[in-house]
């Protein structure tokens, strides 16, 4: 199953994942990122580089994997590809600490 971005990304939007993704499958909203599950090749490179562990293999989700894949797919269709690193959101550090990943 593809990798997906979870809600942990919201208010962070670190982009280490974008820099390492070989297939440019991240799409950016103002507040967070999404993975195009149809473009993801499951290389898993983005998982360890995310400072808030926001990316998971949908296979590892106990529940809600189909919904999360559908959300990532839907938002990826609506949003532009982000293919370069950018600064995290101003709220990122506070959010990261609250998540205590």
């Amino acid at each position: 199953m593809p990798h997906v971005v979870t809600d942990a990304c919201t208010a962070c939007r670190y982009t280490e994942c974008v820099a390492i993704c070989p297939v440019d499958c991240f799409h950016a909203a103002d507040d967070r990122l999404y993975i195009d599950p149809d473009g993801c090749i499951d290389c898993a490179a983005c998982v360890p580089v995310c400072p808030v562990k926001a990316i998971v293999d949908a296979f590892d989700l106990a529940t809600g994997s189909e919904e999360l894949i559908a959300l990532n797919r839907q938002r990826s269709r609506e949003l532009p590809v982000i293919d370069g690193k950018s600064a995290p959101l101003p709220t990122a550090e506070a959010r990261r600490q609250s998540l205590n990943p």
Binding site: M1, I20, V23, D42, C43, V47, V49
Partner: protein
């Protein structure tokens, strides 16, 4: 040398699989167990990425179905019933049985069967060769993958590494030919992507619609097995339109005049009729390929899988020289950079230990070899399988099952799991995974050596392949110390460390860094054949191949180092088009019993059958599917998700139909790797695959396969 394993550590590893990418891996160990793996971010080619197969390698190591102990069969062959025995008993049994067979029928009654289940220098392709050569067993001709293409390539440009894969970033025009990069060579993609972002055009030639073809500026879909017509028509256009780099051709090729005359009939219109691709597109493809320099062609291993699959590569290997693509970094042909590594093949195979005249059996013929089809004298009485799962990868599955079920056949299988093949074993031997062994990896997809250090103690009583052959040598009384060399000695002795490409590379550096690029110029300046220097008999690109005079052959690399008993069948010296044997348009006549062509490409999440017993990978690739074009589905009353039976005279399997444009009209696509044990009708696509070999190098013809499909 014994190394102490750290209880908690990050260990430098390397992916063991039969893939061009050979990733450098970081293996995380906590309390003596592997907790996870990730790509090594420092590696310049694999760059911290793994893939859908290996990203959770620990799940393979600790899989509940791992084979952990030697086992003896306790039920009928194929039943999967086994009982645990000791290593001593297993080895003693092998020794007794083999000695009895050798006494009665001679050592050639024993057949080794292996390939690249693990592909390291220590435990991979050649690990059993010295042992079986010394034993005098029948020699295995292992033409599983790229052997046909390699024969063709070597005949044309010699055993050159060709262009640096990383230099693709500097290409202006890239053709990916029979290569689903995003699934089977994914770490090459970023270099292609860089070229695209610099304005390069990407053409993908593949009958199947894949993730890779979706990225292309132009996706061309030739009918399976007609690619040589396309390549020859490209040559035709390049010559006819005056797009030839005359200076390069004059200085660095032979046979141009003969080739020019030879390709006159191979017009784009001819190729259009064969391939189904519009003639105008073929014209413009050839013009664009010639004009946009540097231009690159990456051929995938699938290119050889039809009757004329070798000559396809002969034709393609002429193209870069014709247009002078080799002149600059980012230009040329990428096939098998393996040849860059200064491997001491003679030392790995030890063909000098073989008994002169020993017979050779091509491994695609295993079903026939075990069932009397090859009229062997003596017949095969013992089979030793390691690094391979022939029941899923070899053709003619029903016949192979019949052969493996033979009561008189003594079969030993070394494995990590009880695979479909292993179920037929008399004895099972447990093999280590990569984190439980040491190895040093060359690559057939990049120019780095990658070290794999053992991270944890083996599960159960699993042993590495190298250790297996040390034990077998002791059992068979081989007292030459060569057979008791340590893993570190093997890996040190298997490379020529004094070669220019090894300058600056030491074990110390590999231990520290995990990898090292061969001592070659950087990819942005490296143009290995800018001034010719091809390792052919003439030193030129041999458009007219002098090696054709000796007839067809398989490189000794793929046959335990043996030069004997080569086929020698005549080979045309100029690249020629041979239409598909089974699946050509000529067969698709009204009333044909098997009007569809079947291809069985690699699945995204499996490596052949490896990982097809993992829940994670099955969650993505689910069960056996058959992709069909809507026209073919409608004509048979088939809808998506219907169960269908795919059949020909060799066998049948059942799949879930997926109707869409993944398959082109007249072609059905059955991704391979699924296990027979989990299949709906105890068969997989290999049941339909032909045993006929292609025109060069013993290549299989799995994309040259006529079938019919019906609702199940």
């Amino acid at each position: 040398m014994t190394r102490t394993l750290a209880h908690d550590a990050t260990v430098l590893g390397a992916c063991p699989h039969d893939c061009p990418d050979t990733c450098s891996m970081l293996v995380k160990v906590a309390q003596g167990k592997v907790t996870g793996v990730q790509g090594n971010p420092a590696h310049p080619f694999t760059k911290g990425r793994l893939c859908a197969k290996t990203s959770h390698y620990q799940e393979r190591v600790y899989h509940p179905e791992r084979l952990l102990y030697p086992m003896r069969r306790s039920g009928p062959k194929g039943s999967g019933a086994f009982e645990r025995i000791s290593w001593d008993e297993a080895l003693a049994t092998i020794g007794e049985r083999w000695r009895a067979i050798i006494e009665a029928d001679g050592p050639t009654a024993i057949l080794p069967y292996s390939y690249l289940g693990t592909q390291g220098i220590v435990n991979g392709l050649t690990v059993g060769d010295p042992f079986f050569n010394k034993l005098g067993a029948t020699i295995s001709e292992r033409t599983f993958c790229d052997s046909g293409a390699s024969t063709a390539y070597v005949m044309t440009v010699g055993p050159t590494p060709g262009m640096d894969p990383e230099s693709l970033a500097h290409s202006r025009f890239i053709i990916l030919w029979a290569c689903n990069v995003l699934s089977t060579n994914a770490h090459l993609w970023p270099f292609i992507d860089q070229a695209r972002k610099n304005g390069a055009k990407l053409v993908v030639i593949d009958p199947v619609r894949t993730g890779t073809t979706a990225m292309a500026d132009l996706h061309l879909r030739p009918r399976p097995g007609t690619d040589a017509a396309l390549a020859l028509a490209m040559i035709h256009v390049i010559i006819r339109e005056g797009l030839v780099d005359r200076d390069y051709v004059d200085r660095h090729t032979i046979g141009f005049d003969e080739l020019s005359a030879h390709v006159a009939p191979y017009t784009p219109e001819f190729a259009a009729a064969e391939t189904g691709i519009d003639a105008g597109i073929i014209w413009s493809l050839a013009r664009d390929y010639a004009s946009a320099q540097p231009s690159a062609i990456r051929i995938g291993v699938a290119i050889e899988r039809s009757a004329g699959g070798g000559q396809v590569v002969r034709a393609i290997a002429c193209l870069p020289a014709l247009v002078g693509a080799w002149r600059r970094p980012g230009g040329g042909l990428l096939q098998l950079p393996l040849w860059a590594f200064p491997v001491r093949w003679d030392h790995l195979h030890r063909a000098d230990l073989a008994t002169p005249g020993t017979r050779v059996i091509n491994q695609w013929k295993l079903g026939a070899a075990l069932t009397g089809g090859l009229k062997l004298d003596p017949p095969i009485r013992a089979l030793f399988v390691y690094n391979s799962n022939p029941l899923v990868v070899a053709p003619d599955q029903l016949r192979l099952k019949e052969g493996l079920a033979r009561e008189g056949l003594f079969t030993v299988v070394s494995e990590q799991f009880i695979t479909d093949t292993a179920r037929y074993a008399d004895l099972l031997l447990p093999a280590t995974t990569q984190v439980e062994q040491d190895d040093l990896m060359f690559s057939w997809g990049h120019l780095y050596l990658t070290l794999n250090r053992q991270a944890v103690v083996p599960q159960g009583e699993a042993i590495s392949n190298a250790e297996l052959f040390r034990r077998l040598a002791a059992v068979m009384g081989f007292d030459d110390p060569f057979f008791q060399r340590s893993d570190d000695t093997i890996l040190r002795e298997s490379l020529d460390w004094d070669a220019p490409t090894m300058q600056g590379i030491s074990m110390e550096r590999l231990e520290k860094q995990g990898y090292a690029r061969l001592n070659l110029p950087a990819a942005d300046v490296y143009a290995p054949h800018a001034e010719g220097g091809f390792p052919t008999p003439s030193g030129m690109v041999e458009m007219k191949a002098s090696m054709a005079a000796g007839g067809n052959f398989v490189l000794p690399t793929f046959r335990q180092g043996s030069h004997e008993h080569q086929s020698g069948t005549p080979v045309p010296a100029l690249p020629t088009y041979t239409p598909p044997r089974e699946s050509g348009i000529r067969e698709a006549v009204p009333g044909a019993r098997h009007p569809l062509a079947m291809m069985s490409p690699k699945s995204h999440s499996f490596l052949n059958s490896t990982y097809a017993n993992h829940r994670r990978q099955l969650a993505r690739d689910r069960e056996q599917r058959l992709y069909m074009h809507p026209l073919d589905a409608e004509a048979r009353g088939i809808r998506s998700d219907d169960l269908v039976r795919v059949k020909n005279d060799r066998g049948a399997f059942v799949a879930v139909a997926k109707v869409g444009d993944e398959a082109m009209p007249g072609v059905v696509v059955a991704p391979m790797g699924y296990w027979i044990a989990g299949s709906r009708a105890q068969a997989t696509p290999a049941a339909l695959n032909p045993t006929a070999l292609g025109d060069l190098g013993g290549a299989p013809t799995f994309s040259d396969n006529a079938v019919e499909v019906e609702r199940a």
